[in-house]
């Protein structure tokens, strides 16, 4: 039928893997409740499939063939690729929909040059969102990736174009489709600075994002500056931009906190009007 839901949420291995280390339990559980709420919204949308725009971390894509964009095209995926004990998410088979994927990919390819993948081992970047959004793994997932890890990175204007292309592709399908972008905003994941968060930078970025202010968002395209202000993790704003572009309508920031640095990311939940 069309795109019926679009939102964004944070991922990070700590969100599940280091849950038991958290001191600020109240804040943690508040965040978990908002993710639960996001799941309810997606379920209420009647979505038959969930597109996850991710920023995976050298689990499937390496510099031997690093695509600017890739979309999965399989009836089943596996995850997590990480040690399940480390991530605290059991290894499982996640349903896909190769036929729907192929139609979406073919449509996207008319304007944006995405790779496709007939297999994909999900890392925490997808498994943590799924753990909250489809915890019984009973909804078909279509993974999509933007290169936020290995420079030269995907330009922000192309990430925006990817979101628009996904929107057109979803609207051309008979199925009801939900879409989430999952990234971080400023963060320094897996480095000695893990836990550092630039809250002011995050809030300003989120303001632009919720306002669908494309011009302001494109000004984050200087990777050197983003790295300085927002860390390597800041490169993952591409996933949020694509989700906003797919939605087209104004965003509602449902949750943000910088008070869970043990998760190594500012924790965000938001949805967009489909316009």
């Amino acid at each position: 039928m069309s795109l019926v839901y679009a939102g964004v949420l944070s991922h990070a291995p700590g969100i599940t893997g280091r849950a038991d280390l958290v001191k600020n339990v109240a804040r943690r559980d508040e965040f978990y409740r908002m993710l639960d709420h996001q799941r309810e919204e997606i379920e209420a949308s009647g979505a038959e499939a969930l597109v996850v725009i991710a920023a995976e971390h050298f689990a499937n894509f390496f510099m031997n063939n690093m695509p600017a964009f890739c979309i999965g095209m399989s009836d089943a995926y596996e995850g997590p690729i990480e040690d399940p004990g480390w991530l605290k998410i059991a290894r499982t088979r996640v349903p896909g929909n190769a036929d729907l994927s192929k139609r979406v990919i073919t449509a996207v390819m008319q304007t944006v040059d995405c790779a496709y993948a007939e297999e994909w081992k999900f890392d925490h970047g997808i498994m943590v969102p799924l753990h909250f959004l489809t915890p019984r793994y009973d909804m078909a997932v279509i993974p999509a990736n933007i290169n936020c890890q290995g420079p030269p990175l995907t330009p922000l204007a192309r990430a925006w174009a990817f979101g628009e292309a996904l929107r057109r592709a979803c609207d051309a399908q008979p199925e009801k489709i939900a879409l989430v972008g999952t990234g971080g905003i400023s963060h320094w994941p897996a480095t000695p600075d893990s836990g550092k968060i630039n809250e002011a930078w995050d809030r300003e970025f989120l303001d632009h994002l919720m306002a669908q202010d494309r011009d302001a968002l494109m000004r984050y395209d200087d990777d050197v500056q983003t790295y300085r202000d927002a860390g390597q993790g800041g490169f993952e704003i591409r996933t949020y931009l694509a989700a906003a572009a797919a939605a087209g309508g104004p965003g509602e920031l449902q949750y943000y906190t910088a008070e869970l640095p043990i998760f190594a990311v500012g924790c965000t939940v938001a949805r967009f009007a489909i316009d």
Partner: protein, 111 residues
Amino acid sequence: MSLYQLQKFLYVLNREPAAQRRYRDDLDGLIADYELTDEEARALRDGDIGLLYVLGVNGQILMHYAAFLGIAWFDYLDFMREGIERHGPVRAGVYAMTGGGASFTEEEGAR
């Protein structure tokens, strides 16, 4: 080119059970399959997280190697900081401009 090989070693190790078996059974043979400098090979042979970090390995690759070696999260962070102290700033890759490595979580401070 050499950082590429070093990271590829760890990328493959993180992904492939066969490489993990070979790491345990025949580490020297596995290392020989990659074009590495002596320093890089030594860092792998010693599981030297700090040196690997300074050599430029991306944390998204390195943290899984640390987990594979059974290193706890906060120790992993400490090893990177010690690496910088011992070997100087990160030499290549995305982190060549990274910060000093203070602790940013109360959980770590409270250990």
